[in-house]
Symmetry: D2
Subunit: 339 residues, 4 copies
Amino acid sequence: MAIASSPGPRIAHVGAISLGTPDLETSLNFFRDLLGMEEVQRVGDTVYLRGYQELKHHSLVLFASEKPIVDSYSFRVGRPEDVELYAQELKEQDIEVLELPRGHQAGRGTAIRFMTPYSDHPFEFYYDIDAPEAPEEIRSKLPSNSSRRRGLGVRRIDHYNVQTAPQNVAPAEKWLRETLDFKRREYVHVPEADMLIASWLSVTPQVHDLAIAMSPEEKNGQLHHVAFNLENHSDLLVAADVLRDHDVVFDVGPAKHGIAQSMYLYLRDPGSGHRVELYAGGYQILDPDWKALEWTPLNMDYGATWFGDPLPMGPDGSMYSSTDSASLTSLLGEGLTIG
Amino acid sequence: MAIASSPGPRIAHVGAISLGTPDLETSLNFFRDLLGMEEVQRVGDTVYLRGYQELKHHSLVLFASEKPIVDSYSFRVGRPEDVELYAQELKEQDIEVLELPRGHQAGRGTAIRFMTPYSDHPFEFYYDIDAPEAPEEIRSKLPSNSSRRRGLGVRRIDHYNVQTAPQNVAPAEKWLRETLDFKRREYVHVPEADMLIASWLSVTPQVHDLAIAMSPEEKNGQLHHVAFNLENHSDLLVAADVLRDHDVVFDVGPAKHGIAQSMYLYLRDPGSGHRVELYAGGYQILDPDWKALEWTPLNMDYGATWFGDPLPMGPDGSMYSSTDSASLTSLLGEGLTIG
Amino acid sequence: MAIASSPGPRIAHVGAISLGTPDLETSLNFFRDLLGMEEVQRVGDTVYLRGYQELKHHSLVLFASEKPIVDSYSFRVGRPEDVELYAQELKEQDIEVLELPRGHQAGRGTAIRFMTPYSDHPFEFYYDIDAPEAPEEIRSKLPSNSSRRRGLGVRRIDHYNVQTAPQNVAPAEKWLRETLDFKRREYVHVPEADMLIASWLSVTPQVHDLAIAMSPEEKNGQLHHVAFNLENHSDLLVAADVLRDHDVVFDVGPAKHGIAQSMYLYLRDPGSGHRVELYAGGYQILDPDWKALEWTPLNMDYGATWFGDPLPMGPDGSMYSSTDSASLTSLLGEGLTIG
Amino acid sequence: MAIASSPGPRIAHVGAISLGTPDLETSLNFFRDLLGMEEVQRVGDTVYLRGYQELKHHSLVLFASEKPIVDSYSFRVGRPEDVELYAQELKEQDIEVLELPRGHQAGRGTAIRFMTPYSDHPFEFYYDIDAPEAPEEIRSKLPSNSSRRRGLGVRRIDHYNVQTAPQNVAPAEKWLRETLDFKRREYVHVPEADMLIASWLSVTPQVHDLAIAMSPEEKNGQLHHVAFNLENHSDLLVAADVLRDHDVVFDVGPAKHGIAQSMYLYLRDPGSGHRVELYAGGYQILDPDWKALEWTPLNMDYGATWFGDPLPMGPDGSMYSSTDSASLTSLLGEGLTIG
């Protein structure tokens, strides 16, 4: 049905995070052999991976880099023309936009790249992406899975959680809502100071595809964590069991958030130190008139940790940002050196 | 952002099923005391319930009725004006539309009611609905839950699965896709006969908000089951344990579907005989270019039952439709007698 | 087969803990209505409860008391004559033994009561105990369950964890091993100081039926916690979810011990403040030549908490003993007043 | 404490099953790579495996064999002298006893071998067995685990389920109880015919270490299945998910038994066709006065399958015995050829 149409561009879902790692083989061992992701393609020192329930080419890019760094946070848009529509919109806002050719990330079509205003995170938007079949020896009999469940059962990327300087949280989040149509689902603020501390945002019924919060280091462009999704709470407990026995560093968890009602385990990729959240469960938001749920420092203990190992909040450092982002110039491609 | 706009109306999500039951107290005992739903309001012999994770007024209506019957399958639309936009569209198609006043279902605003073409299911569309706080003695501390988890932990309605005469599956499903913008996610057909047997449809990232299939009795307007959602696979096992000990009749399960990748337990409301599915897990579809997954009788064993107690298919009767639907005239309201 | 016989007496399993509570109704609400235990019998201000998988009369006694206190830790012995055989053995060791008549605890036969040497915990031994059928409205169809699973699914008592003054841990534990044939399964000690800090002991394949550790308050006769058993790890997560929403005080958890490999959630009975552990999983010891596993302060972090919310160790108080024990004279019976 | 002593010999626990397989590499792939057992030692065409929670040398022996066959069901006894005490007892009963030298199974001390009266299963008893550390690359940090949890998480052998000709069930079971001190825990019989159909027996608090039932083929010496233990119900669901995707043949499950209250998944080792049960949960029996629970054909549907995929009973074949046993002469050792 189409009474009227041609709506504006939209983001469809989280695409892929591109992580620089000083120890590519250790990172690969972690994501592929322990977490169970599929190595889809390798191009030089860049490796493309996906979860067993992802049909598209990749949701994680690992590339060799002197320092841990995030090269990009990508999102897939809803229609082919939305890449160009977003490019126009960004340029109208005087935001510098790079055009990335087909194959800049393997398997992906043309894309645009820009730095988010106020918060300085390198975002990339694309529509076209290959959907390669997995090799027969790991291919699933289920058409909704690309490969059989393996390792600890990461089935897909879930969300990005980023940080920025305290004074930038509010304007950056406003921009994400107004320009990219992210909806605010839950948020923490200090009412007395009219200060936004953190916001959980989504374009899907997930409570968050993207969260943004204050950086305790007061720095822009920070990654707090990237989350990967497991099927059940019990899978998270098994993952904790096994990863603990592999001496993977746990920041916190397993435990359950009040916000999003999901179980979490925060740990570090042993190859890079990037913080990864293993994530399971949560509620979904289908209500078209959802009112963002408000949290304040007074009840935030429930929100951060509903039960289990409590999320540290404050100056103890363990929940500090894990890593910096690249600048507008992508690190993928020829002559890559970072240091 | 709004480069252009005023798109057509859309369905936001499944609303509530309205079930007539010959034994209201036994049905209430089942849904409220065993499954753990909240009795939100009672008006005469009509009771409104919701799951602990539903903030709106109700997702289940139980009313006294001589025979088990479905009075309506309701859906909430995306904007206030969408109720009227759909009414116009339906009338243009010469479909008879009833206007239901505010309060026809308690807590709900004005709505429209019509019979689906080809398949004869009474659908209702509404936007406005109250979001009452639960009584303090069961209220949750989490703002995303209306009440505390109780009983076997039904948190929300999940989907409807309806049946129609074999020759009507294809046209009815086509109408649902074309007029109501349901997207086909998975389907079973007989390629040689170009015959559609079943289709899983959604307007959300769920694999299905609505499924439609052939009625083995070759009747229109049939309910196969209504599904309610539990948080984890393990919750389904606990529910099976407890309900088995209460002598609730199980049709099939617990087991896991290949289609939708969800765990299921089909059982009967002891008060009415309506088939209810307890449902947990599943994958979500965020890809804007999702291609409906095809199943045929040759591989359908995987699709219906990936593991566990197999779904019977064929003439043994256990997966026949559970109950008929009402006609265009709603049974809710004054002077209700059905028999 | 019996080449030779008449072995000494033996303890068969943990019997029941008897807890004094200043708020009997709140404690009952906790153990019966939330945790799901059956109220088997009430005699004045004393209530007898059991889990749904216990066929015998009770495993928990709650009685009104001005202060929270443990009246007794009981154990069932292996044969009727073992009660008297233990009485003789204790008297030979100049330990004072009280003879308790049939019905001192309702449903129980004659018993003996004594204070454990060095650690001052009131132990009771009995053999005879009734096995009443549950009332028909909650009776299970399974003959191995007394009642249907209800509430959060406590199925049986699991173990006692007691504390004593630091210098008494070693001699008290030695006495438990030598006189009562408890086997040491895992233990923590400081090798340099030849100091035993904690020991996990059992007469069954469980890793512990009884644990004894240093009291941070340096007091004898302390209860650290009594544990009740749930079927699966997932049941523990559900219990945490629900109890958190009821504002029950959590000391620590959910998380997993390295020692015993079980999941734990330590919380407080809201009526009494006694610490209760909800407990699930763990390994079993069938090896007849089991060598007690050794832990030291150097690796004890793994032992106490394998993953999740870490057990506090040291002077922060939260894992201090929960409550004192009664003296040799039982508080159950006529004219009870404690204060 | 030892008022009197020198009791007779006793069985401590299930030891290892020794399975002949026509396709050793496929069987190894199944037990080691999919189920996650450790390959501890290989001697020629014989491979020794154990679960991650077993500290002793092995609980499964796989050896190349033309046909699938069970070479032995072994049990560990409680004391070194019990091997010889049992040998004497058996000889007094005119049962032929083979003495097996140290190393007949690698890592094991001297053992005896005999055929069970009436039922013709080759049993072996031993006490001494090595407890090798796992190689460092898979060694667990937990001293109660030999290796890290891997694959689908088999942690230990659980029990044997054997079959014999219908008229032999009663005398064979009586002999197991009277000579080997197995206790009857649950049983199925036809009261009118005074016929024992099946019995679940244990020497530990497990409901069964050994079950014996009628062979539908009316043959002695049959294996119905050998069971391996997983930690939680949820692990069984994950195992079903993965094994289904590997096209492993499922006989029945996942589902839950009423008898023993455990979850089950019966499947076939793809290399040999031996039936294997993946098994999780269950209740334990600590009562010294346990009365065996009685089932009859009238309520046996609950006992066999409490919920989920029902165990077939009767002539449909799927729960027929999986394989024959060897005779008194062990197939392990030099010059092995079977066919």
